[in-house]
């Protein structure tokens, strides 16, 4: 039986409540509502080591602070990378940052994806929408140590072809023989020759050995719920499914209670959990 013990990776931060200034080095538009920032520390030579799945609290001065997962390459810790979708005040203000602007960073916080526990297994990553961003570091990590894993499969669903994130990178990865990528959109126009339908539809036919597979799922909660059900129908064990949860956050270190979900705090016990840890809470309202 595959057992994904949650990977508690929180580092000892000198003062976890104190944001450190980071300067924007590059801004990349990923789609009409999503952008990526590459950043470096202003005052130090700090290498930003993190585990795939961890997040930072990003503080846009005078506007607010929000949790955003790290979307960069863990093997390139000189550059901190975040990919963000504009939904409200803080993400909108963040989208207006330009090269040279400064923002505050606290972190990294939380548990990471079970990258080590997946060694020797097939791995299926299921991403919905912006959920591809927190999973991208897993792909970097696995591709850097490709021989440690069986099949690596990415199933990615988004609304329309215009919403596809990291398009160039996906195309490059798709050309590899050791990585299988399937993308599906809810609606396609006449230029789209790929899959149409929800991401769960890709699961029954995806090439992995269900009994020896670790699944990592990231996206909105409803999508994750139905994905977990479909993965289990295919034969993947519940214990071998990891999900990343989101809740509003304030402290990010388990003090304020803002991110409580059932008996857990998403910021310190998660955001990555195993499916059995969450299963009974996932379908409940207003938790």
């Amino acid at each position: 039986m595959i057992n994904l013990t949650p990977q508690l990776t929180t580092q000892q931060l000198t003062d976890p409540m104190q944001p450190e200034p980071f300067r924007v080095k590059r801004v990349m538009k990923e789609s009409y509502d999503t952008f990526t920032l590459e950043m470096e520390p202003v005052n130090s030579e700090r290498l930003f080591t993190f585990a795939p799945g961890q997040f930072n609290m990003l503080y846009i001065f005078g506007v607010g602070e929000i949790p955003i997962s790290i979307s960069g390459d863990p093997n390139q810790p000189a550059m901190l990378v975040h990919t963000t979708r504009i939904v409200g005040a803080v993400t909108k203000a963040m989208s207006k940052l330009k090269t040279g602007d400064v923002l505050g960073v606290r972190g990294p916080f939380g548990t990471g994806w079970p990258v080590s526990a997946a060694k020797g297994c097939d791995v299926v990553l299921v991403a919905g929408g912006i959920g591809l961003a927190p999973l991208r570091p897993v792909l970097y990590q696995m591709l850097a140590h490709r021989d440690r894993y069986g099949k690596v499969v990415l199933l990615y669903g988004c609304r329309s072809p215009e919403d596809i994130l990291f398009r160039k990178e996906l195309e490059k990865w798709r050309a590899r023989f050791d990585l299988e990528i399937f993308v599906t959109v809810d609606y396609g126009d006449s230029d789209w020759h790929g899959n149409v339908g929800v991401v769960t539809k890709l699961i029954p036919k995806a090439p992995f050995d269900a009994l020896n597979t670790v699944a990592m799922v990231c996206g909105p909660e409803v999508m994750m719920r139905f994905t977990a059900i479909e993965l289990q129908k295919r034969g993947v064990q519940g214990e071998a499914i990891a999900l990343s949860m989101e809740r509003n956050m304030k402290c990010a270190i388990g003090l304020c209670g803002h991110c409580q979900f059932g008996p857990t705090f998403i910021c310190k016990d998660g955001p990555v959990f195993t499916y059995p840890q969450l299963q009974s809470w996932l379908a409940q309202w207003e938790i």
Partner: protein
């Protein structure tokens, strides 16, 4: 070369069918090939056939005069294309277009309807299989309209 009942036997949709039923079905079957870009059927046309896809990729489309064709679903190997042959008034609800070279077995709906009327065990089996396909598609459509990724 494999016979039609062998091809049907290998297809996911017919798993568990008894040889005598497969033989009956094969009597209504023909092998077909569609080139990439070719329309397999169009909305409103008579639906007197369904397809079991052996290989390829098919888009189900709705034509919007403003936006052109909008793909709402895609089907591939081991999927079944078309259920309108089962229900009056037997007209297609969407366009179906091969987006890659597609090989399929076409099942003559009229021939099958007669066989299902005459053999209720076969009729029940077919209804059961199509009900499963329809339930799956309904579930997927529900998730699709939910805008799952917002």
């Amino acid at each position: 070369m494999r016979t039609l009942d062998e091809l049907l036997h290998e297809h996911e949709f017919f798993k568990g069918f008894k040889p005598e039923h497969l033989e009956l079905m094969a009597g209504c079957a023909t092998n077909v090939i569609f080139e990439a870009g070719e329309y397999i059927f169009r909305e409103g046309e008579n639906a007197d056939v369904f397809y079991v896809i052996r290989h390829g990729h098919v888009a189900l489309e709705i034509h919007d005069p403003r936006r052109g064709p909008i793909a709402i679903d895609t089907l591939q190997e081991n999927d079944v294309l078309g259920w309108s042959w089962l229900f009056a008034p037997y007209h297609w609800h969407f366009d179906a277009k091969a987006i890659k070279l597609t090989r399929a077995v076409a099942m003559d709906g009229k021939c099958l309807r007669t066989k299902c009327e005459n053999d209720h065990t076969l009729g029940y089996l077919m209804m059961q299989r199509f009900a499963t396909v329809l339930a799956d598609r309904l579930q997927q459509t529900r998730l699709q309209v939910l805008k799952l990724y917002d």
